[in-house]
Symmetry: C2
């Protein structure tokens, strides 16, 4: 039996009841994170481009676009939601592959689940299994695949999207193998698109391709049943080096979702350990901005390469300023989008504090670590060593932190009452009888 | 200026009035051929899988699927028509790249043209320009690209589909470059899919991706403007060797469509020179089956490798039988689908004639050539040397032969009166005021 058949069987036969509690909880956390970033992104004007194309093209009102009023076809919803999930680069990351597994998977799974009236548990299980497939296939081709220029979230995302969709549609193993074949024939996404709207379109298109693959294969459409291992198949063509054993090794016993990190801060990851340290001064030592004489950070070289910007003038520049990120870390104990607005970067208290912050390269630091020392007006010196930044697999965001992120991001679109109702239902996803009910909670003003 | 900008400008700025008469005529021939094979394919049951997905997903009634009663969205129509065009492997072939340029291009162009009410001339010009772009970009990456496992019609087809669609939507050069960027980010199609329905899905998906790219870019969606030449762009990632100069060299002065061949016979090309020879015995020498004592063919080695099947039992096997192909060539002077039915391969006259036919490898023959000698009952020997089979650029199908193909294939779906009306309108495409009128001619029973 080849890898494609093994994966198809795993997708079809895995028993929801047998999925570990911890895994389902992690899946829920991914879902909450996915919805948080998508609800926030749904206020970006570029969503209107997609919605306008949907109006032009039409489609049955089967599935919801996060944050939009009208429902649309499953494929349209998958496309738009995949786009929103990745638009702000604030979604999850599977550390071994830098795949963002939620962005192509949830949009596909939830669109199909909403259409067929699946309950929360089934939708979550299908999503968790789909994300596993995407990460696994990613591991089989990483890092050569990414280095060659592929946007791995786009390319590998089609498989998880098809897997989740096909499982919800009740396929048998052979149909599932065909669905993976149709999906793989649509794998695409290039790194040359980075910096444009086409980057987040990649997971959107992957989600849509996965739904299409499942809709076709469930009706008898044929493809290769060896898309992964076949001659001139996916792994051979999309990567100079690959190891399909990584896709199937201990499948079902070991779960890659445990290597998936949720991003706590709305800026590049090199800032993260620095923000962590500042938040600790604030939360554990009661340090406030007016107590600070100076701050010195020992950092990984990338910090000075990428985010040394002492005087950001607009919000976007703030995201590329370790000084600003550290300042808001101390003052607000957070680095959500609200900390990176045009107003916030010119706040006098923040500007004054930024001027007191400096950094020095320390070759012993890793990308997720830093050592920060604050000198206080009263002469005291405090030092915080961050070994693994929040949001890495070694130091995951707590559920409380995730709730804070959801409140901060979803609050752009939903009322406070809606936010709390949504959070309560999401944590109790097993009790949600239809995914459609879930989406009705997210309709702005609803 | 890079290749992408050069191509975008060419697509946008080329004046319809300046296109050579010969080129527009060749475009018309491609269109007639495209519609012939699509009308024939539209009776294949697998189309119902696509149409059923369209019903499930919905869509405005904007564009026609060849041979289907109801209209659907532009993207759906593009997907289905691209599928039909390539389903029977009976479409056109650009010889330098083995791209099938019509299959991804006409479906995209005609869907957009029908929606916006474009006239026949505009739709044809956009299609001709789109096919040029697909062939040109194919030449830049061929043959390494195909050898690596890509289905070049699927991958390169997105560019021509986006170009034709974008031109019809009236884009400027910058928008067109963005549209090419969105399109290239969706390029896909693997040779591992060959032998399944997913193979013809490739040009369908390309057509759809091109329409989507144009709809998005025309509304301000952004992408790279260097999809072809950019670091980690299309040519770098999709091909170990490439030469973008071939994409832009003499663009507008030299047209690749002149290297595009229409396929006269419904079987593998290695049979074609043999059928040609037999048709010549029939048409030029009045040879009939009952006059034949034996037939000896000198052939390229691939003939014996691929199509040596003296006793085909079903129609599909007939396509892989040089003996059967030669027999119908003499008896019918044709090798249309009607010559490859289950009934036809067991016809007693054909079976008797097949037994008299043999072939010998002749290393001096090329794939498009053959030498055939027939020994007649009266002792005469006649020899025909075919240097270039019909349908190659050196020996194109005549307009009369193309009309015969259209009649033979479209007749599966349309009445005789419809066929003749359609042919008359297609040859006079410049007078067709809206592409929608054209499609109304093709509705079965209409």
């Amino acid at each position: 039996m080849g890898a494609t058949q093994d994966i198809a069987r795993f997708v079809v036969e895995t028993d929801v009841e047998a999925l570990p509690e911890r895994l389902m909880h992690e899946g829920k956390r991914c879902l909450i994170n996915y919805l948080a970033v998508s609800l926030y992104a749904s206020r970006d004007p570029s969503l209107n481009i997609l919605l306008d194309v949907f109006r032009e093209e039409g489609g049955n009102a089967s599935a919801s676009v996060v944050g939009a009023a009208a429902r649309t076809s499953m494929q349209n919803a998958a496309l738009a939601n995949g786009y929103l999930a990745h638009l702000d680069d604030y979604d999850d990351t599977h550390f071994p592959t830098i795949i963002h597994p939620s962005a192509p998977t949830f949009p596909a799974a939830l669109a199909v689940a909403e259409r067929i009236g699946a309950d929360g548990r089934r939708a979550l299980a299908a999503s968790v299994i789909g994300m596993e497939i995407t990460c696994r296939i990613g591991m089989a081709v990483h890092p050569a695949h990414y280095n060659e220029g592929w946007h791995i979230t786009g390319t590998c995302g089609v498989f998880g999207a098809a897997a989740a969709s096909g499982r919800l549609l009740g396929m048998d193993t052979d149909r599932m193998a065909q669905a993976l074949g149709v999906a793989g024939a649509q794998a695409s996404g290039l790194r040359v698109s980075f910096g444009s709207m086409t980057k987040p379109l990649h997971p959107g298109r992957s989600a849509q391709s996965g739904v299409l693959a499942a809709l076709l294969a469930s009706r008898g459409f044929t493809s290769t049943t060896e898309i992964l291992e076949g001659r001139r198949g996916f792994t051979e063509v999309y990567s100079a080096e690959s190891d399909l054993g990584r896709a199937t090794d201990r499948l079902g016993d070991h779960w890659e979702l445990y290597q998936n990190g949720l991003k706590p801060y709305a800026c590049g990851v090199v800032n993260h350990p620095l923000i962590d340290a500042m938040a600790r001064f604030r939360d554990s030592h009661g340090v406030t901005a007016d107590m600070v004489e100076s701050v010195r950070a020992m950092v990984h070289p990338l910090v000075l390469e990428l985010v040394d910007r002492p005087n950001p003038r607009v919000g976007l520049e703030g995201k590329f300023s370790y000084q600003h990120s550290m300042a808001v870390g101390l003052v607000d104990g957070a680095a959500f989008p609200a900390q990176y607005t045009d107003e916030r970067v010119v706040d006098p208290e923040i500007m004054r504090l930024r001027d007191l912050i400096s950094a020095t390269v320390d070759e012993t630091q890793e990308e997720g670590s830093a050592e920060v020392t604050v000198v206080l007006n009263d002469g005291r010196e405090l030092t915080e060593v961050v070994e693994h930044a929040t949001g890495t697999p070694e130091n995951p965001m707590s559920d409380d932190q995730l709730e804070s992120k959801f409140r901060a991001l979803a609050g752009r679109t939903l009322s406070e009452a809606q936010v709390e109702r949504a959070l309560a239902r999401l944590w109790a996803l097993e009790e949600v009888e239809s995914v459609g009910e879930l989406f009705s909670l997210f309709r702005a003003g609803g």
